[in-house]
Assembly symmetry: C2
Homo-oligomer: 208 residues x 2
């Protein structure tokens, strides 16, 4: 039983996230204080910490919601039988555009996402990863069935390869080594390379 308490908890958590969406969106992450957040959510400052352990955890939850939205938007669009290259490119470029739209924001998100604090909400983290994989793994296995990708490889590994290159792209943009308008070109080149392989071999190359 004791459903009253649980209801309230859910409501409060939602209220905090709603406040985050409004305030982070309007003033940015840095310029929003926990106290403002609490006020906007109609609770006391200390109460916030009953729902999130750190400020960045709130950001994380916030971004996760946004991400899910991005993914949902994308779900319909991609053509299931496009070459694997085009499909993963579309997927990661959508994310790239979102992440880099507000750079300071994206930076913090990536920092928390890629190198999370050890005591991070285990559930949260996993949920995000699951969401991710649910989108990308089917694309990969389908390509394997089609004979486009090596069937003996673990789809998770393949996913890792693409994700790794996506990370490098974001990194090199943040480090100003790649201008934003060349992001897609660069990612396409790297994806092509990983698909074809780095080693020399005799099979005919598609081009160049």
């Amino acid at each position: 039983m004791s459903t009253v308490r649980e209801e309230k908890k859910k409501t409060t958590k939602k209220a905090i996230l709603q406040a985050a969406i409004r305030l982070f969106g309007k003033n940015g992450y840095k310029n929003t204080t926990i106290e403002q957040l609490a006020k906007e959510a109609g609770i006391g400052k200390g109460t916030v910490y009953g729902y999130f352990n750190t400020k960045s955890e709130i950001l994380y939850a916030f971004c996760e919601d946004e991400m899910e939205y991005i993914h949902q938007q994308l779900a319909g669009k991609s053509n299931q039988d496009d070459p694997i290259l085009e499909q993963v490119l579309t997927f990661f470029m959508a994310e790239f555009h979102y992440i880099t739209k507000n750079p300071g924001f994206g930076r913090l998100f990536m920092q928390e996402m890629i190198f999370p604090k050890p005591n991070f909400q285990q559930g949260q983290q996993d949920k995000a990863v699951q969401n991710y994989l649910a989108m990308i793994i089917p694309i990969i296995t389908r390509a394997q069935e089609r004979g486009e990708l090596r069937a003996e490889l673990d789809p998770l590994d393949i996913c890792g390869h693409f994700y790794a290159l996506y990370l490098i792209l974001v990194h090199s943009c943040y480090a100003k080594m790649t201008p934003y308008d060349q992001a897609e070109t660069t990612l396409r080149r790297l994806f092509t390379q990983v698909i074809e392989g780095l080693q020399t071999h005799q099979t005919s190359r598609s081009k160049v």
Copy 2:
């Protein structure tokens, strides 16, 4: 002229870094305050900010020194004509072990390194990257000359592929998806895959 002032500046900067080495090393990054650092360096708190813009910038400079040391140690050891796989594996695993020795530490370093603040000391950042590339690029070009890697690819791209996978490894360890004792196995597998390529093809594979 005005050499007195410049001398002093250099001395002070060194003093701060020395203090950082001692205090970060002994008490960790989080438990060391700027005030302690300043006291240890024999200067006032505010003065520190004449040399570094943020605390994490000090960490970065500190780690850079450590990194250089690691790389120097490594420089002699690797056999120039080992297969490319073995050479890059040795290189990145050395770094991996250093980074993960003190997890909280390594996390912050990676966060700053991979997703730097936009106003970051441009010189510092570049210097670190240069250092990096100076180590790894020769290994790659040699492998290209030997005919082990495709010569038409930009060595920087190839470097990016390996680095990307290294990043993913660190990530998946921090996210507790890969146990530390399987790190090397995992990295070897991923490196092998990127070298061979993800696509299906007819050339004989080395194994499996």
